[in-house]
C-alpha cells in the first residue's frame, strides 16, 4: 500500500517552538525530525513500501515520486523551503492525481498529511472548502473521497488543546470523515518538543507501519514470515457481521491444488511472504531500532544458510505448478504460490480470497476439501490425467441447457423452422423432430401460448399435404400424429397438456 507524505510548507510551519534552555526550533524542524524517524524505520523494517513526498502551500509540488529509496526522501526533507499559505484542497487534488497516475484507482493508498493545524484563511482555506462542499458543480468537486481506497493519517505538529481552541480540529475531523473515515488524527501529547513529536510518529508506526509477522505452518514444518504489505482487516457484511476480520498470525496450509484447477481466482489482495530469521523478531519490536543495522549483514548471511521452509515450499510450488491453500482465520482462506517477475527473480506470494466458506464456486466449500487419500480411488487418476475440479453446480446455467426464449420474434421463428426442417426429413429425423417439437410444446404450455400450439399443428398438417409421392409413408403418419397431439395440448386438457408429458413418436411398423 503506497504512502504519500503531504508536507505542509506554509509560513505557519516556521513558527518557533520555545524549548527550555536550548536552541529554538521551528515546527517544520519537528515535523522533519518525525518524518526522518519514520523513514529510517521504513528503510529497515518496511523497505518495500513505495513512498512519495509532496510539499504544499497554496500550490503543491511532487518532491520525490514514489520510491523505495529512503535516502532520497530524507534528503528532500532536508532541503525544504518555506512558502506562503496553507491550501489543503488543492494539495489533495494533487495527491489524487499523483496516486492515480502511478497506481490507478483500485490500489489502496495511505496519505499522510503533516501540518501544524493552521489550515489557511479565506478562500482556499480548509474551512472555506468544507463550507462550500454542497455548492459545487461536477467539475469542481472536492477531492475527497479519493477514488482509490484511502487511509488518511493527519499528523499535527500541535497538541489537541491548541487545535481545539480554533475550529481546526473540527475541520480535520470533517476531512477524515470525508475521506471515508479510515485513518486517524495524531496530535502531540504534552508540550511541543523533539521527544513528543517522536512519540507521536512512534504511535503512527505502531499503528500502520509495523511489519506483519506470522508463522506459516504446513503440519510440523513451519517458518517465521513477514507478510508484506500488512493484510488489512475486512468487513464482510456491514449488517450481519460488522466486526472486521483480521488475518491470523498463524497461517496454516490446508493442502495443495493444481494451478489449472484453482484457475485464476479473484483475490482481494496480494502479499509477499518473506521468510525471516526468528531472532530478528526481537530486534524489530522496538520501533525504529536502527542500531541493529550493522549486525544485520552477518545475521542475514547466517539465516541465508540455514534451510527455510518457505524456500522449499516456493521451489516445489514453482516446479510442480501448484498452489497451497492456506487458512487465514475462521472461514477465511488464501493461496500461496510462486510469482516470478520479468527477470529471474521469483517469490513466494500469498493472495487472499474473499472471506467466507465458499470463496471460489469451482472449489466448493473449502471446509469440505479433504485429503485425496480418503477417496476410494485417486480423483486425479493414477497418471494425473483427471481432476476432481471444477466442482459442477447442481443446476446448469441457462446458456448451458438449451433454454427456450421467444422474446424476440426470431427466437420463435427459428424454433418453428427447426421443427419444419426436421418434418421434411421424416422418418430419418424422427428423434430430432420430436425433441424439437416437445421443447416447443413445453415452452408454449408454460407461457400459456396455446395459440402457437394450434398454429404449429396447422403447419404440420399442411406439411402432410405437401409431402411428395416419394415420401416414406411413415412421414405422413408421424406428422398427423404430432399435429393431433399438439391440438390436444392446446385445449389445456390436463390429460394432454401436462408439462412433463412428452409427445412420443407414433409406433408404426413398415418393415413387413
Amino acid at each position: 500500500m503506497p504512502t504519500v507524505v503531504l508536507m505542509d510548507v506554509s509560513l505557519s510551519m516556521t513558527r518557533p517552538v520555545s524549548l527550555d534552555g536550548s536552541e529554538e526550533f521551528q515546527r517544520k524542524n519537528l515535523a522533519v525530525h518525525g518524518l526522518n524517524m519514520l523513514f529510517e524505520h521504513m528503510a529497515s523494517n518496511y523497505r518495500l513500501e513505495f513512498t512519495a513526498l509532496m510539499a504544499f502551500s497554496s500550490l503543491w509540488e511532487l518532491l520525490v515520486p514514489f520510491t523505495r529509496d529512503y535516502n532520497a526522501l530524507q534528503e528532500a526533507l532536508s532541503n525544504l523551503e518555506d512558502y506562503d499559505k496553507t491550501c489543503v484542497e488543492s494539495a489533495l487534488n494533487g495527491v489524487s492525481n499523483v496516486v492515480q497516475q502511478e497506481w490507478g484507482s483500485a490500489c489502496p493508498c495511505q496519505v499522510m498529511l503533516v501540518t501544524d493545524g493552521s489550515l489557511g484563511i479565506g478562500k482556499g482555506s480548509l474551512r472555506h472548502s468544507l463550507q462550500t462542499l454542497k455548492q459545487r458543480g461536477d467539475d469542481k468537486k472536492f477531492p475527497l473521497p479519493f477514488p482509490f481506497p484511502t487511509k488518511l493519517f493527519i499528523m499535527c505538529i500541535a497538541n489537541a488543546e491548541e487545535l481545539q481552541m480554533t475550529d481546526a480540529m473540527d475541520n480535520l475531523e470533517e476531512l477524515l470523515r470525508l475521506s471515508g473515515g479510515d485513518g486517524q488524527i495524531f496530535t502531540v501529547e504534552g508540550p511541543l518538543c523533539m521527544k513528543s513529536v517522536q512519540a507521536m510518529f512512534g504511535r503512527l508506526i505502531d499503528h500502520a507501519y509495523s511489519p506483519f509477522h506470522a508463522v506459516l505452518h504446513c503440519g510440523n514444518l513451519s517458518s517465521d514470515v513477514q507478510v508484506f504489505p500488512r493484510p488489512e482487516p475486512i468487513v464482510v457484511d456491514e449488517e450481519v457481521e460488522p466486526m472486521p476480520r483480521t488475518v491470523s498470525t498463524d497461517l496454516e496450509i490446508v493442502g495443495f491444488i493444481e494451478i489449472a484447477d484453482i484457475s485464476s481466482p479473484p483475490v482481494i489482495s496480494r502479499h509477499l511472504v518473506l521468510p525471516i530469521a526468528v531472532n530478528k523478531e526481537v530486534d524489530e519490536v522496538g520501533a525504529g531500532a536502527t542500531d541493529e543495522l550493522e549486525e544485520e549483514p552477518s545475521a542475514s548471511q547466517m539465516a541465508g544458510k540455514s534451510p527455510n521452509f518457505c524456500v522449499l515450499l516456493h521451489g516445489s510450488l514453482k516446479v510442480e505448478g501448484m498452489v497451497a491453500l492456506v487458512q487465514l482465520g475462521p472461514e477465511w482462506y488464501g493461496m500461496l504460490y510462486s510469482q516470478a517477475d520479468s527477470k529471474k527473480k521469483s517469490n513466494l506470494m500469498m493472495s487472499l480470497f474473499e472471506p467466507g466458506p465458499e470463496p471460489l464456486p469451482w472449489l466448493g466449500k473449502i471446509s469440505h476439501l479433504g485429503p485425496i487419500s480418503e477417496a476410494a480411488e485417486n480423483p486425479y487418476g493414477e497418471d494425473d490425467s483427471k481432476s476432481p475440479f471444477p466442482v459442477q453446480p447442481q443446476v446448469k446455467r441457462s446458456y448451458a441447457q438449451n433454454v427456450t426464449v421467444w422474446i424476440k420474434a426470431s427466437g420463435l421463428q427459428t424454433d418453428v423452422q427447426k421443427i419444419l426442417r426436421n418434418a421434411r426429413k421424416l422418418p430419418d429425423k424422427t428423434q430430432t423432430f420430436y425433441k424439437e417439437l416437445n421443447r416447443l410444446r413445453k415452452a408454449a404450455l408454460a407461457f400459456g401460448f396455446w395459440e402457437l400450439l394450434k398454429g404449429v399443428a396447422d403447419l404440420l398438417e399442411r406439411e402432410c399435404t405437401l409431402l411428395p409421392d416419394s415420401a416414406h409413408p411413415d412421414a405422413a403418419f408421424q406428422l398427423s400424429h404430432a399435429a393431433q397431439q399438439l391440438k390436444l395440448a392446446s385445449t389445456g386438457d390436463s390429460q394432454y397438456a401436462a408439462f412433463d408429458h412428452n409427445i412420443a413418436p407414433m409406433h408404426t411398423d413398415f418393415s413387413s
Binding site: 473515515g181 494451478i259 453446480p393
Partner: protein, 752 residues
Amino acid sequence: MAEGNSRFSVYNQLILQICKMKMFSVSHKTVFVVDHCPYMAESSRQQVECDVLTKSRAQGVIPLAPVSKSLWTCAVECSMEYCRILYDIYPKDKLVNYIVSDSEFHILNSWRQEDQSTHELMSALAAVGPPNPREDPECCSILHGLVAAVESLCKITELQHERRTSLMDMAERVANRGRIICLTNAKSDTHVRMLEDCIQETILEQNKLAAGSDRLMAIQQCELVLVHIYPQGEDTLVSDRPKKEVGDMTHFAFSLKNTTPHLKALLLFLPLLPSQISPLLTSEVHSVRAGRHLATKLNILVQQHFDLASTTITNIPMKEEQHANTSANYDVELLHHRDAHLEFFKSGDLHMAGTSTRENGLKETVTLKWCTPRTNSIELHYCTGAYRISPTDVNSRPSSCLTNFLLNGRSVLLEQPRKSGSKVISHMLSSHGGEIFLHVLNSNRSTLEDPPSISEGCGGRVTDYRITDFGEFMRENRLTPVSESSHDPSGKLPAERAKAQLERHTRYWPMIISQTTIFNMQAVVPLANLIVKETLTEEDVLTCQKTVYNLVDMERKNDPLPISTVGSRGKGPKRDEQYRIMWNELETLVKTHAGATDRHQRVLDCIVACRSKPPEEEERKKRGRKREEREDRTEKNGSKDTEEKSWQESERLKGLLDKEEQEAEVIKDSPDSPEPLNKKPRLSTEEVQPPERAKGPVSLLSMWTNRITVANSRKHQEFVGRASSVNNKFELYQHLKDENGMDVHENGKASR
C-alpha cells in the same frame, strides 16, 4: 441528457454500493405477482410471423396467419427472462417467489433453494395455464396475489434462518427486506394507489403477526415495482412514476447507521433521497406496452435490482456455416455484476473504455475487444474479481457460439479498445464447471514490483532442498471435494482431516538432501509411505517389516548408502557408521508414529529388534572363533532374562525366523558377510520360548505379564547390566577383554 444520465447512474451506483454490503438487502427476496385475471388473456396485438416460407416452396401455399401473444404470455415470458438472468448470475441467495392471482392466489414455488429454477417455475406455470377469459371478472383481482406476496415476504428463508441461528443473541442483525414486482393491467392511477395502500396495510398487519412467530419475520423494507401492461396501439390509463416520494426520512437514516463511514461520506454528495409511502414501503410504477417494450423494461429492471451492468464483446470471429473458411466478426452482449466495471466507473474512463448509450438512454454497455486466445497455457492471472455472466440474447447464434466456446474450456482475454497507446487487457472470460465468469484482471502497476528474490532471504543460500520430494509430498496432499453427507466418525471436517494428514506426513521431514539418508534410499520408500498413514492394515505392517528386513539384508551385504558427504572431508563416515546413522534416522521417523496404533508400534519394534547394534556387531566380527563360548553365555543370559522377554522380542524372533527361511542359504556361503543374525536368537528361542509362542501371535498372558513386568521394573532400581544391555543382553566379564588388548576406544565410541 447524457450528463444527467451519467449523474443518475453514479447516484444509483452509490445507493447500490450500500446495498452490496448487505446480505439481506431488498434483493434477497423477490416476489413476482402476475395478474391471471380474464383481461390478461387479451391479445398484446404484437404479431409474430412464425411461418417463414422459403422461396422454392412458396408457390401455391397459403402461409399461416401470424400468431400473437396474449398479455399473459408476454408477462410470463418476460418475468421468466428476468428470472433466467437472475439465476444465471446469482445461483444462490437471491430468491424468487412466484405468485399468480385471479379469483384467488396461486403460489407456484417457495423460498427454498431447490424451488429456485426456471424449470420449476415453467412447470408450475404450465399447470396454471393461460387466464380463462370466461371467468367472472368481478371475482378476480391482483389484490389476492399482493396480499399473498406480503405474507410470503414475512416467511423466513433458509439463509435467514441459518444466519439467525448462527448469530444467536445477535439474530436481530438479520434483516427482512424484499421486493414485489407486480405485473398487471391496472385500471387507473387511483387503482394503483388503492393497491399501494392495501399493501401498506397488509404489511402492518403481517408485521404484528410476525412479532409473535419464530418462522415469520417482520418486514423492515419493501419495494413495490408495479408494471402496468397494456396492449399495443392503446393508450395507457396509468402514469409512470419513479420511486414514490411520500413519507419521511427516518427509515433511511436508520439504514445508514450501519454503513461504513466511507459510504456515508459518499452519500453526503447525494441529493436527498426519494422518500417513501411509509418507512416500510416504497413504490414505483412503470406503464409499458406489452411485447418488446415490456421485455426491455424488465431487462433494465433486473439490472437495476441486482446491480448488473452490460459488456459487449466485440470482434468475435465466428465461422460462417455457408463459407467455412471465412469468418465474420460478431458482437455478443453479456450481463454481469457491475463491479466488473468498477475500475471504469471510478476513473471516469467509461467513455474511453468504449461505452455506448443505447435505445432509451438508460442502458449502457462497455465494449471490450476479443483477443484470439493463444495456446491454452496454464497461468495464474492476477485477478481482482470474477463475476458470473448471462448473455442478454441467450439463444442467438453468436451468443451460443461464444458460450459454447467458453464452456469447452477455453479462456478469452478481453482488451480495452483504445485509439492509441499500448493495448490494455482488462478482463478475461473463462468457464469453471459449466459456469462462465468475467474475470477482472489488474492492469495497473503493481506495488509489489521488484521484490527481493527468495534466494536473497532466509534459507536462500541453501542449494540442496528436497524440491522433488516436496513436490511429491504436495501431490499426495492435494485436496479433493468430499461430499457433505460423508461424515467422519471423528466429527472433523474434511479440511481439518487434510491438515491432520499434513501433520502426520511432516512429523519427520528433513528439508535438505544432506540432512537425510533414508529419504534418499529407494529401499525405504515403501515404509516411509505407509508409516504416515492414520491406520495400518496387517498387510501394511508386513510391507514395512519387509522393508526393514531388506535394509538388514543390505547391511549384511554391506551395500553402500547414499550418505551425503557434504561438509565432511574425505570419504565421509565409514560404512557401519553410515548404517548406524540410517537406522537412527529410520527409528526417529517411525517413533513419531509409533503412538498412533499398535500396528505402528509393531513397525517400530521390528526396527528396534532388527537394527544392528554396533557393539554386538563389532564383537561378533572380532570373536568369530569364540562363537561357541559366547553362545553358552547368551544361553545363560537368556535364561536369566526369561521373564523380561517382551512380546516385541517374540515378534522380532518370529520375523527373524521367517527371514531365515528365505535367506539363510544365500548368506551362509559368503565369507565376507557378517555372522548370520539369526543364529543366536534361534538358539535362544529354542531354549527360552515355547515354540508355539515364537510362531503364533502373542498371547494375552504374555502381553499381560509384560505389562506387569514393566510396571514392576519402575519400582526398583534397574540392575546396571540390564540397564545398559543391548537387545536385552549384557556382556559379562568385559574387563577381561580390555585386558586382552581389545580395542577399547572403538567399543566405547560405538556404544555411545
